[in-house]
Amino acid sequence: MYASAYIGLKTYVRYPAWILSDVISTPIWIIMLLLPILLFLPREEWSDPTTYQYFYWGMVFWSVISMAMWSVGMAIRWEQNLGTIEWLFLSNANRVVLFASRVINRIVDLTISSLYMALLMYLMFNAPITVKNLSLLVAFMLLSMAVSLGIGAVYGAAILKLKEPGALSNVLQFVILGLSGIFFPIQRLPEFLRVVALLIPYTYCVDLVRFSAMGTPTLLPLHQEIALVVVLAVVLNYAGILALKIVERNMKRTGKLGAY
């Protein structure tokens, strides 16, 4: 885990231009994503702080979702590109830990960007971001990341098989963002889409995050929802480890591990 985190952080700070680029472009992208949504609201709601709170926590949670799509999946692709994937598979380390090096970058990135975006929301839209219960928020964010890591591991196994993650990641990301109520409560979705939303693990994660940050009511009774997310985190991580094992074994047998 230490080696994995070390390589992740070292790679992250090696390209300071990327960090700078993120700092400069993040507020610009926020405006680009927010303005088209505001067109659907009456002008008086453009200054409603709740609208911005929903949007802010949606943006923060977007990073958690991207973590699943891009961390393990992209880490595998990255190692393939560098020609180091075969060496990593020769080691006896846990595959999820091995490829989760980018999770460390994501956590650093998420912490910085959450604070930065909160400041920008205040400066640009005069919408202060408040947190109802910080310790619960941190706990639920970590729990959500554990769920995301599990999904990322399952997804990583698919990438190992399919090779090209970028396309699938893009499509999946938008489907999840649109359907799991990341930016709004799912009660506002049409009935048939609400059923789909309830089947997506992230729906419950973001619901808990919003509960701790904004004090919104949860979909299920609180304890049941926490229990559900804990179970999801365990099951998805177990499924991820299993999926990676099966795909790896299969690829080793067919000699396709090194092909990309």
Partner: protein, 279 residues
């Protein structure tokens, strides 16, 4: 070298780059699928969140602010323009970076060919993929919303083609920055963000502050998107003497020439200082 011989040599370069790049594109067909579906993904993203937050009056609010209740077409057209801008800006700098990664960058410089032609050629395969896929992607939205007449569609393609020229100029500047700073994606990320926000691909410009609207006037993409939106979303017709067309053509020439000049200068500096082979 005589003109026909020089022309033949340059055409061969363009052909070689085209075949190579198309081969790489077709090797990863899932990316083509993404370009086809992405306008709908982005439009769906805005639409689902907007209507969920806006409630029953969402469409009315949208129509009041944009002039059309057809949010799908409005956003699909905007997304198409956004993708063209993003892909073209990425293509040249990205190609140089890829060659650096593959270790083939220096080999290009040992060949007796024009580097401007070489790197510029990347626009053609990129343009082919972009036009074909976005064409496919726009058709369903246009059919659902009532297809504009053929003349409008033709003018739309023409405007899109012209709007690629200044983007290509920006791409050359990115390429120059790539040779200098080695990290094109950091630069393109900022450029794409600025161009996307200021051009108003997804909203009418009046929602921006006055100073940004002034800046928008200097971006060719702003004029391109308003013209295309007029044609495809509002079914309006306009004359060739429309000031926006003139602005688009003038700005396209300026951006292209500026890009070319920056690229030539930085490239020659990189060769002199030995920066070329470092990455």
């Amino acid at each position: 070298m005589s003109f026909p011989a020089s022309l033949r040599k340059n055409l061969l370069v363009i052909y070689a780059v085209y075949v190579k790049e198309m081969k790489i594109w077709l090797r990863y067909p899932t990316w083509i699928l993404v370009i086809i579906t992405l306008p709908y993904m982005l439009s769906g993203f805005f639409y689902v969140i907007g209507t969920a937050l806006g409630g029953p009056a969402a469409t009315r609010n949208f129509a009041e602010k944009t002039g059309t209740p057809n949010a799908l077409l409005y956003y699909v057209v905007g997304s198409a323009m956004f993708l063209i801008a993003a892909l073209v800006i990425d293509s040249i700098g990205g190609s140089i970076r890829q060659e650096q990664y593959r270790g083939t960058f220096e080999i290009h410089y040992s060949m007796p060919i024009s580097r401007v032609v070489l790197w510029s050629s990347h626009i053609l395969p990129q343009g082919t993929v972009t036009f074909v896929t976005l064409g496919i992607s726009l058709v369903p939205a246009l059919i659902l919303s009532g297809i504009p007449n053929l003349a409008s569609a033709f003018i739309g393609v023409l405007i899109l083609t012209i709007s690629m020229i200044p983007l290509f100029g920006i791409g050359l500047i990115v390429a120059a920055l790539t040779v200098r700073f080695k990290e094109p994606w950091a630069v393109t990320n900022i450029l794409k963000a600025v161009i996307s926000v200021v051009s108003g691909f997804y909203y009418p410009l009046y929602v921006l502050p006055a100073w940004l609207r002034v800046l928008a006037g200097y971006l060719p993409t702003t004029h391109a998107i308003t013209l295309i939106r007029d044609l495809l979303v509002f079914n309006r017709e306009f004359l060739a003497s429309d000031s926006r067309i003139i602005a688009l053509v003038v700005l396209s020439s300026i951006y292209f020439l500026a890009g070319l000049s920056v690229f030539k200068r930085w490239e020659s500096r990189a060769r002199r200082t030995g920066e070329l082979s470092k990455y």
